[in-house]
Symmetry: C2
Subunit: 437 residues, 2 copies
């Protein structure tokens, strides 16, 4: 049966940036079958009143660690908390159950914040896939492999077997694309990186990892190889269009040229990168080169919120300041980074990222009744500079309504929180948790 | 009759940063009369269940232009939009009615976002005071005077008569402190600045203005006086503890030393200053010198949202990055800037800014039921890095409940919006509005 959202201000984010001031969107099954001005609307099927809200494509989070949710607000302002708290906590307390419930809760938060597609890399990725599947979200999910002992691979490198099994299990899922995720250039050696690349080639799947994020990573590559991490990845054949490189804070001009030539996608995590005082990637230079760039929240221990709206505001202010120009990156371009450009970064733009006939019905309705959402002279400005996750009224993924009137449709948030709390029990009694803050 | 909020996680922001993990706060009339752990609670009077939310002092917005609300989302990303759009719009369309409704709407938004005290400077300040009075908010309100034609003073300088009349009318109000607000160092000449200073001395009231905000302001003072604006203000006797200087982006070491010596308060507007690509004030240096600093949203055309929670997140990320240190400005210090330090900046710390017996019952309850508000290992982290205005559940000012369950108690937001829309009618038909975006 057809379903239509009517009486909404529609920003399609298609190539022409088509807008409908008072428009409708009709879907059938999982796809958009029609959209336009209300004058051309023909009533048929179920009608949902958009109440003058802003209808936009579902937002795309190109870098996250969903399972880390239970550690949020622990040691935010502590130096090197990654090695002091997070790695030990993960190694000791992360298990299948905690990963599943952490991911499920994260998905609830993302959906409630208007995110319809996520690229995740974490451990126990099979559990995370189960949560994504249960929640009907769109995702690219990468099992993390590293040359370290990790919570799901006690023998360094044993994550590869897990990863291949994971890929086999999920490779034909409608909404989930499995992938492989070496942890980072500095936590995976050459052999391990090449092995991951090989797997991505065999299965024709994406590969994602942290690249040029850390000061010590840059120093290590300079000291060891007299190369940047990007140049190193290229030298071992790991740089091509299948790679989605997260962070990319520290890039030389040559690195940018390499990323462009190899058609690498970049997941830019402005919130995480600045809260941790690491730096601001030169997104202007990347975009000027034609590189595909999307926005990522990073894990909830790094960026705290999992919605792309938070990233919009931070992106605007950091990049306007960096470029000393208030007119650079007008709001419309920033919304594009969180929608169509994010989809391109993940090679999902044939399915998602804009509202167009034939594409999947992944969209978000922002209400404009709240105090912060008025006036709407420019809907992109309202989205970037005013909106927060609390303004997300309705969310559809692949034609299915997952959020309505700011509540999850299929599950109670409190039920998921209770599940997560149960899984956190052991961790809550740990000395680390008691002493962090 | 006594009223108590019970079962809340209380952060008092008092000198010892006292916290109650499961606490209560009892008020009588406009004052806090008791607070502590639930174990010591004695039931009496009305009980409000805090439902494990976070109870904190009402937030303090030290710099705003409430009347500008109707221009929000107009020309955000346009170069020099102040002179191209905003000044012309103000000159042509701002009037008593629009100022009143713009302010009233802004107050609704602030209250719904947890702001209980605001320092405003704008035109038709008498209208703004009427709106503040009607809404029962705490405020310092300054009529803006400038050596330009302004919307409420067609003869340059005629704002002084308005200002004195305004001060007379409001100087004995319980919640409102009138003040005088020269527009800026570069839009008020020496005579006008001295005259404003004189008025502030006669009535023993604060004075506020924009200081060291603009590149062209810095150049003007260098070219004309071979001085910084701060040094110039000092040279004409305008620098003392009655001054609340907004922005202060461009300060020399000598300026900082002068601000300290004269005990000037600074209203730091990180969101506005970075969105406009102007710069990041050196707040670490100001605080290290012992200067009183609070946070400000600026007008809704500059910072867009009017809540202090937005400023917290931006403050954290910008100042951590500026100082290349993720551990600088831990979340607790940032919350202090929006509460007790803001109150000190405005010389209102005997009344507000922390939850202490004898102080005014100005407080905010943040719910922790929403997805973004869990887990709460560190309540300050949750406030700074996760919370948004949509998490504000309950707000009291001077013992009166103004927001409950995320809705205004005394008025419907939609009624105020309708009033504002009516006042905007003429402006909505203007060519400027039609062509800005």
């Amino acid at each position: 049966m057809k379903k239509s959202i009517v009486n909404a201000r529609i920003i399609t984010m298609d190539e022409k940036m088509t807008e409908y001031k008072k428009g409708f969107l009709t879907m059938e099954g999982d796809r958009i079958v029609r959209l336009g001005d209300m004058e051309s609307f023909q009533e048929e099927g179920e009608i949902i009143d958009g109440k003058n809200g802003i209808l936009m494509p579902g937002m795309i989070n190109t870098h996250a660690h969903l399972g880390m949710l239970p550690f949020r607000s622990l040691g935010d302002d502590v130096k090197d908390r990654l090695r002091r708290f997070l790695f030990p906590l993960e190694n000791q307390y992360m298990n299948k159950n905690l990963a599943y419930w952490g991911a499920k809760y994260s998905i609830c938060e993302m959906l409630l914040g208007g995110v319809t597609t996520v690229l995740d890399m974490y451990y126990f990725e099979d559990e995370i896939a189960k949560a994504v599947d249960a929640m009907h979200m769109r995702a690219i999910l990468g099992e993390t492999v590293a040359d370290l002992e990790t919570c799901d691979s006690r023998e360094p490198g044993s994550g590869f077997a897990y990863a291949e099994e994971f890929i086999h299990k999920w490779k034909n899922h409608k909404l989930i694309t499995p992938c492989i995720a070496p942890h980072a250039t500095n936590t995976n050696g050459e052999e391990s990186l090449k092995r991951a690349k090989k797997i991505s080639e065999i299965y024709q799947l994406p590969i994602t990892m942290h690249v040029a994020e850390m000061d010590y990573e840059m120093k290590y590559f300079k000291d060891t190889y007299s190369m940047t991490p990007v140049k190193f990845l290229d030298s071992i054949g790991c740089l091509d269009e299948s790679l989605i490189a997260a962070h990319c804070i520290h890039l030389s001009k040559e690195d940018i040229e390499l990323l462009r030539k190899r058609n690498v996608g970049v997941a830019h995590c402005i919130g995480s990168n600045t809260k941790s005082a690491k730096g601001v990637a030169d997104i202007k230079a990347l975009l000027d080169s034609g590189i595909r760039v999307g926005l990522g929240t990073d894990g909830a221990t790094s960026g705290n919120t999992l919605d792309v709206l938070t990233q919009f505001k931070l992106f605007a202010n950091f990049h306007k300041l960096k470029n000393k120009d208030r007119s650079i990156f007008p709001a419309q371009e920033i919304v594009a980074l969180g929608t169509i450009r994010g989809a391109k970064t993940l090679h999902l733009d044939k399915l998602a990222g804009s509202l167009e006939v034939g594409k999947q019905a992944d969209f978000v309705l922002l209400e404009t009744d709240s105090a912060n959402m008025f006036p709407v002279f420019n809907p992109y400005s309202v989205i970037v500079y005013s909106a927060n996750s609390g303004n997300v009224d309705t969310v559809f993924v692949a034609g299915k309504c997952l959020v309505r009137h700011k509540k999850l449709v299929e599950v109670e948030l409190q039920t998921v929180r209770n599940g997560l709390l149960g899984a956190m029990e052991e961790m809550l009694g740990s000395d680390i948790v008691k002493t962090v803050n």
